[in-house]
């Protein structure tokens, strides 16, 4: 936190769009909060600049001379060599090989080198490429410059900045997000999980009445389905010294499944219909236009129960609009079939997402969710987190003894997908059906979230309450972390030596705290990078530093990208093995930090989270 800060700024660095909201600290007191959203100046078409609340997370890398002089001029930059925002999305629709999209999903993709220029992912060699990290830096720099342009007396690097990340982001992706922010010059930074930001936004929206709307023992399920990801979190309501407290007790897996998949599913289905009925075929741009039209048609159909179908027209690319346009329609039955049954099918609370066998070991594309059913992911999450509230102090669970999954008592929806009340109702009805079958009470829906900008608004509000002006959600890390060590046993041909996992960071470490180093020593080789396997668990809440696991089920521990340490050779003989202990902590920013401490001396070496998996060897 900076004492000079005049504003608490919240940045939603989203998969499909970014937004920036801010609280004027001098004009805010208690629950009277002076909050605004920045109209972000951006090029919308070459040469035309507009301020919009959303900055599409797209980056266009034009060829030399492709665009006329001044085409990408911004109020703060005469001739940028790339376009960010609406212009990138618009140009990219016609020239997909030069547009970077979904950089955030790549930032969290453990199977690729996230520092290597790999985006746009399908571009030919002639196209200049950027790394997922660079793309994120450029978006943040655009937001920074937009802010500074409007607030020349209060530059962004002097303000308190909160950037949101999916709750399911792994430690490496969080570290990369913080690195991108540092690179953009934002030093007064903290990270906040998006579902928490959504809950903060809801709290703020209740004007102080949230305390009457929840009670001790409540378990709030936040279902956040954005453009590209589905993010789940559970918050428990407890009591301490007579005041209500909120604890984020669990977060879901990283699920690459969002509103964009849904719109694309509709478009692909309508395209099939068009191509069947006529001999016309659609090119990539027309599919984009069709997706756009389907999104609008979907919103009309889901918003008006009397509407049976909405006509869809895909304009021709040439000037001949009459006769050249392709007509079709989207019917209510199709939307219900494809969206409601495809993405939110009714299922039992015991159902689990389906996994297809992976083809090949490495993946070049994004690891999209293999099962599109949000409801099945939800069922798996609630069952996995049955014990999530056991250790919360001051919490009186309402859970029946023989419950098979954790019973939420309230649901908060977030993300553009839930603009349609029908989908919200479907998810709520599904959860309540599970609850009834499991002997629980129905959950209520917390109303009043502002879906599109809630995350940015909640983040700015969090920046404000961090200064001691309101309720804070307690959480800490949502996983316990383990380093994998080969067991010392005689080698058996054809059998991999078994791995034991040593806990180096327990569940729920809060920002700005360090753990004791684990007693077990590991050997580092002087002058050589040494890698260790690294695991996280979102369910083992009781393990302490030093706990050793000899075996575990696939549900319990998830393997993360490796961690790596290199001991500098100064003053030592290269090749020597130095015994070290590992110490974990969480920085003030909210990033996991690992250090290696030798048996003797005061040295400490940083242990890196590997973000370069998939690096060409």
């Amino acid at each position: 936190m900076s004492d000079e800060a005049s504003y608490a700024v919240g940045i939603d660095l989203g998969t499909t769009h970014c937004a920036l909201s801010y609280v004027d600290l001098d004009l805010s007191e208690g629950e009277e909060v002076a909050q605004h959203t920045l109209a972000i100046p951006q090029v919308v078409t070459p040469g035309n600049i507009e301020g919009r609340e959303l900055l599409p997370s797209f980056l266009y890398l034009p060829a030399t001379g492709e665009l006329g002089e001044g085409a990408l001029t911004l109020p703060w930059d005469e001739s940028p060599s790339f376009g960010v925002g609406e212009v990138a999305r618009a140009l990219g629709a016609k020239t997909p090989i030069r547009v970077v999209s979904s950089a955030k999903s790549w930032l969290c993709h453990g199977g690729v080198d996230r520092l290597a220029p790999i985006l746009p992912s399908h571009a030919p060699d002639e196209v200049t490429k950027v790394s997922p990290l660079q793309a994120s830096i450029l978006y943040l720099e655009h937001l920074r410059d937009a802010w500074n342009d409007k607030h020349p007396d209060a530059p962004l690097d002097e303000q308190d900045v909160v950037i949101t990340v999916p709750a399911s982001f792994d430690p490496a992706a969080r570290e990369l997000t913080a690195e991108a922010a540092r690179d953009a010059g934002l030093d007064n930074l903290v990270l906040l999980e998006e579902p928490q930001a959504a809950l903060y936004s809801w709290i703020q929206g209740t004007d102080g009445t949230w305390r009457d709307q929840v009670e001790v023992g409540d378990v709030i399920l936040v279902v956040d389905v954005g453009g590209g990801t589905t993010d789940l979190s559970l918050m428990a309501v407890s009591e301490r010294e007579g005041a209500l407290e909120l604890h984020r007790v669990a977060v879901g897996d990283h699920i690459l499944l969002g509103g964009d998949n849904m719109d694309l599913a509709l478009a692909v289905s309508v395209r099939a219909k068009i191509e069947q009925e006529s001999d016309k075929t659609l090119d990539a741009w027309q599919l984009g236009a069709l997706t756009h039209a389907c999104r609008a048609a979907k919103e009309s159909l889901l918003g008006d129960p009397d509407l049976e179908s909405v006509p869809i027209v895909v304009p021709s690319r040439g000037r001949k609009l009459i006769g050249g346009s392709i007509r079709s329609e989207l019917t209510r039955a199709e939307v219900e079939q494809l969206l409601v049954e495809g993405f939110f099918p009714e299922c039992a609370s015991g159902d689990r997402p389906k996994h297809r066998a992976r083809v090949g070991l490495t993946q070049l594309g994004l690891p999209y969710a293999q099962d599109a059913a949000v409801t099945r992911h939800l069922a798996a999450f609630l069952a996995k987190q049955l014990g999530a509230t056991e250790d919360v102090e001051g919490f009186t669970p309402k859970l029946p003894e023989d419950a098979t999954f954790l019973h939420p008592t309230a649901i908060l929806f977030n993300g553009g997908v839930f603009e349609s009340a029908l989908l919200e109702e479907r998810v709520a009805a599904q959860i309540n059906a599970w609850l009834e079958a499991d002997g629980g009470e129905p959950a209520r829906v917390l109303e009043g979230g502002s879906l599109g900008l809630a995350v940015a608004r909640g983040a700015a509000y969090y920046g404000y309450v961090r200064r001691g002006e309101g309720v804070r959600i307690r959480g800490g890390t949502a996983q316990a972390y383990y380093v994998g060590v080969e067991a010392a046993m005689p080698a058996v041909p054809g059998m991999e030596p078994p791995i034991t996992a040593i806990c180096i960071a327990p569940f729920g470490i809060e920002e700005g705290t360090r753990c004791e180093p684990a007693a077990q020593e590991l050997g580092l080789v002087v002058g050589e990078p040494v890698s260790f396997r690294f695991f996280g668990s979102s369910v083992r809440r009781d393990d302490q530093v030093g706990t050793v696991l000899e075996r575990w089920s696939a549900d319990e521990l998830e393997e993360l990208p490796e961690i790596q340490a290199t001991l500098p050779a100064e003053g030592k003989t290269p090749g020597d093995v130095v015994p070290v202990r590992l110490q974990a902590g969480v920085t003030e920013v909210g990033v996991l930090e690992l250090e290696a401490i030798p048996r003797e001396g005061d040295d400490r070496w940083k242990v890196e989270l590997d973000v370069r998996a998939g690096e060409t060897q």
């Binding site: 035309n48 006329g68 001044g70 001029t73 109020p75 027209v313 000037r319 009459i322 346009s325």
Partner: protein
């Protein structure tokens, strides 16, 4: 300045547009703007005339009636709007089409594209609202001192207000315009660039 001389919103928009460029490129004009900002008359006092000049002017009689100043809208904003309507709603494409041989069904399909896009462009850049709150067909009152710019009397126009009559059109008023800013090198006369797809 009395009310009837106050320029309309669009005239002010245009004036601001023209003044903006002249301030940049015309040093004399800019000097006038500076004087206006400082609360002085825009034109400098003529150097060779003595201080009493204003008094003399008052004595001068029978100035010929000045020719009315007619406003001329510059092309910039208009071209920008055309480009916007073409981009969002394929407006130029549609207007340049020959409708004689087209079926109503095909025209209807194209009209959906034009309507949806142009509506979006209008909503994004203009705040447009009806002038009269009553429903068309209702009998409405026109009070004394009504604004003749925003209410047009038709039919049997005799006598003095207040009047009573049937509202035949609610009228439209644009309360806010927010056109995109343009980069200096941007040529707004290109309404839509030709597109060449490379295989």
């Amino acid at each position: 300045m009395s009310d009837d001389q106050a320029p309309s919103f669009f005239a002010r928009l245009l004036l601001a547009w023209v003044a903006y460029f002249r301030t940049i490129f015309d040093a004399e004009f800019a000097a006038g703007v500076v004087r206006l900002r400082d609360g002085q008359p825009a034109l400098p006092p003529p150097k060779d005339e003595p201080e009493e000049a204003p008094k003399k002017k008052k004595k001068k009689k029978k100035k010929p009636k000045p020719a009315p100043v007619l406003k001329e809208a510059g092309p910039g904003a208009a071209l920008q709007l055309l480009g916007l309507l073409q981009r969002e709603g394929r407006f130029i494409d549609f207007m340049e089409e020959e409708l004689a041989d087209a079926s109503d069904e095909d025209i209807g399909a194209a009209a959906r594209v034009v309507h949806e896009g142009c509506k979006k462009a209008l909503e994004e850049h203009f705040t447009i609202e009806p002038i009269h709150a009553s429903e068309e067909g209702e009998t409405v009152k026109v009070e004394e001192g009504y604004d003749a710019h925003s209410i047009r009397l038709t039919g049997n126009v005799v006598g003095e207000p207040p009047f009573e009559g049937e509202l035949t059109h609610r009228g439209w008023k644009c309360s806010e315009v927010e056109l995109p800013k343009m980069s200096e090198k941007h040529d707004p006369s290109i309404l839509a660039p030709a597109e060449v797809e490379l295989a």
